[in-house]
């Protein structure tokens, strides 16, 4: 799946934001144009890809967000929109007027919700999110980014019931952004995170909500019991790491947000999504040739060699290069320095 960034503007400042650097490096008025959207749609269609995610910044800040969604749906794409849910009343009316007849199987909003107590929002922000979910709840599943160890999930279950949301929770682990200081979970704390998620099993099961894991969770941090539970909900579980294939409004492509400054290239330089994947996978192989994964045990790990686990997110591996400066290939060093990622 490709991620299309409609804008680099955002109206929220989450403490863990892994897109902050990319957003601040881009012009504030950077908006995806119709011409480029059509080019991307053609590019993906020609590559056989029928799923797209719309991201930002906050994608609903794009003045033609609704038109873009309807256009992609008409082009037979399955569309996922990642939003913070903080929409102005006028924009919300547009969604209500034009998207509430769309089959929820074809359009999903993933609304990134923060714990109202641990990461409090202003009253205005809270009201906007409430209004969004009141209208778009049936098209929306909650997303939650874990950036502290005492995180709680209860409010997500409340939201699902209250707003009639899709009964699936996307759980993301906050990764470090190489060279930046953002809130993230350390690898040595990963087991604690997994145990805390599993502690919510009774609520997940009772409310028939399925948990979904975003990229970068290491397989070895889960017990067989925990894996069995996840498998029962979601089938085959991926413990991989992208590439996400993020396409910015300026048509640059990069591995993922944390690695947005690393070897980005224009989409116009590629003929197919497979070529983009090849380019991004080369980046991964370069790093992984030096450090297979974030744990010492990753070296020689059967699951990593079998491709069942990526050994943690690539951004964490790059972060090891940045923060700990081990012996590294000259080519990698050169790229890190060029992109201001070197320590």
């Amino acid at each position: 799946m490709a991620n299309i960034l409609l804008t680099t503007k955002c109206n929220r400042a989450c403490p863990y934001c892994f897109a902050r650097q990319e957003m601040s490096d881009s012009p504030s008025d950077s908006l995806l144009s119709w011409e480029n959207l059509i080019y991307i749609a053609d590019f993906l269609q020609a590559s056989g890809e029928r799923q797209v995610s719309l991201l930002g910044g906050e994608p609903t800040l794009h003045p033609e967000c609704v038109d873009f969604i309807l256009y992609l749906l008409d082009r037979n794409f399955q569309v996922m929109v990642f939003t913070n849910g903080m929409l102005d009343p006028a924009r919300l009316e547009e969604l209500k007027g034009h998207l509430t007849e769309v089959n929820p199987e074809r359009l999903t909003f993933t609304c990134n919700l923060n714990d109202p107590e641990q990461t409090p929002a202003s009253a205005e922000e809270t009201t906007k999110i409430h209004n969004f979910l009141s209208v778009m709840g049936p098209w929306t599943m909650p997303g939650f980014n874990i950036y502290r160890l005492d995180f709680r999930l209860d409010f997500l279950f409340d939201a699902i019931n209250r707003y009639g949301m899709k009964r699936h929770v996307r759980l993301g682990i906050c990764h470090p952004v190489p060279g930046q200081r953002t809130g993230f979970i350390r690898m040595e704390d990963m087991r604690q995170v997994v145990q805390r998620i599993y502690a919510y099993r009774p609520q997940f099961d009772a409310l028939r909500v399925s948990p979904g894991l975003d990229c970068g969770f290491p397989l070895c941090q889960f017990s067989d019991e925990e894996l069995g539970w996840l498998h029962r909900h979601r089938g085959l579980i991926q413990f991989g790491c992208g590439p996400a294939v993020d396409i910015a409004p300026d048509m640059n492509v990069y591995y993922c947000f944390p690695l947005s400054r690393y070897r980005r290239k224009s989409l116009f330089e590629f003929d197919s999504l497979a070529q983009v994947d090849d380019h991004l996978l080369k980046i991964r192989h370069e790093f992984k040739a030096e450090i297979p994964g974030v744990y010492d045990d990753c070296d020689g790990c059967r699951h990593l060699e079998d491709g069942l686990c990526a050994g943690g997110g690539l951004c964490r591996v790059v972060n090891l290069f940045v923060d700990e400066a081990p012996i590294r290939l000259p080519e990698i060093e050169h790229e890190l320095a060029k992109n201001r990622l070197s320590s």
């Binding site: 144009s33 119709w34 011409e35 059509i38 749609a41 053609d42 590019f43 269609q45 020609a46 033609e64 609704v66 038109d67 309807l70 256009y71 749906l73 008409d74 082009r75 547009e94 007027g97 034009h98």
Partner: protein
């Protein structure tokens, strides 16, 4: 030379003044298209299409299921918001419809690309004020497609009909070629183009005066007007894009900064299009 088709307003009495002609009938609104088509059929003429000269954007027009079989040429000032169009796209794709938008403002060039990409056939009405660079981008998109989409005229026509050894006039795509189309006003007076009709520059008081078009002085003169560019040594006559432009934009004075660059690029893209076709035809495996 066959008789030119007639472009005339929707007027039953006027339609009765000639017969067995192919007619494109003009109406002001979509709601009268079906009645206009019926009147052409009743008049013992053949219907080419109904030209709807709409003052409203495409997205504001209320197309109906019963109109889907009518041959429609919609001349609209703009497309309107996609969100207002989205619900009607399924019907529009099933309609026997070509949408014509003016080439300027530049937003219309974007709209043409959008419409084409969702399967609506379109035409760009180009005048000298168009953004030639943006038009070039649209043309490249229209001809060198990555995935199938509906044709955008005149680019699709030029690419598929371009022959390096001859001239190509695409004015007929826009009812603008007296060899193919003559324009009548409410009184039946004849003009050689839509623009001349608007300016009330008539060449005959009625279509019956033009029994043999090739013999009619004004038409013959118009069809040979291109020669004047060479007589006058006009810059258009030495332009590389002449073969597919024929001086259409000489009056706009855009010259080498605009139309010339565009038509040269169009020629190159047309050549690439032909090369692709030849390559596609050239590769054939054995047949059992």
């Amino acid at each position: 030379m066959s008789l030119p088709r007639i472009v005339c307003p929707h007027n039953r009495d006027l339609l009765q003044t000639f017969r067995d002609r192919t007619v494109a009938v003009r109406v002001k609104g979509l709601e009268t298209a079906a009645a206009a088509a019926a009147d052409v059929w009743e008049s013992d003429n053949h219907l080419l299409c109904v030209i709807i000269e709409s003052g409203s954007p495409l997205a504001d027009l209320d197309f109906r299921e019963e109109q889907k079989d009518l041959p429609l040429a919609l001349m609209a000032p703009s497309c309107g918001k996609f969100r207002h169009l989205a619900r009607r796209l399924d019907l529009l794709r099933r309609c026997n419809l070509r949408v014509y938008l003016p080439g300027s403002p530049p937003e219309n060039l974007v709209s043409l690309r959008i419409l084409s990409s969702v399967g609506i056939y379109t035409g760009a009405m180009i005048d000298g004020g168009v953004d030639w660079d943006a038009l070039g981008d649209l043309m490249t998109y229209a001809v060198l497609e990555r995935v199938p989409h509906a044709a955008i005229e005149p680019f699709a026509f030029i690419a598929s009909h371009y022959d390096p050894s001859s001239y190509l006039d695409w004015g007929g795509l826009f009812f603008d070629n007296p060899e193919n189309y003559l324009h009548l006003d409410e009184e039946g007076r004849v003009a050689l183009s839509a623009a001349e009709l608007r300016e009330q520059r008539f060449v005959a008081p009625s279509i019956s005066e033009i029994a043999a078009p090739q013999e009619f002085p004004a038409i013959r003169e118009r069809l040979q007007a291109w020669r004047q560019y060479f007589v006058e040594n006009h810059p258009c006559a030495s332009c590389g894009g002449w073969k597919i432009c024929l001086g259409k934009f000489a009056a706009s004075g855009s010259g080498s900064q605009g139309c010339a660059g565009f038509f040269l690029e169009m020629l190159e893209v047309a050549r690439q299009f032909k090369d692709r076709q030849i390559q596609a035809e050239g590769f054939q495996i054995w047949q059992p």
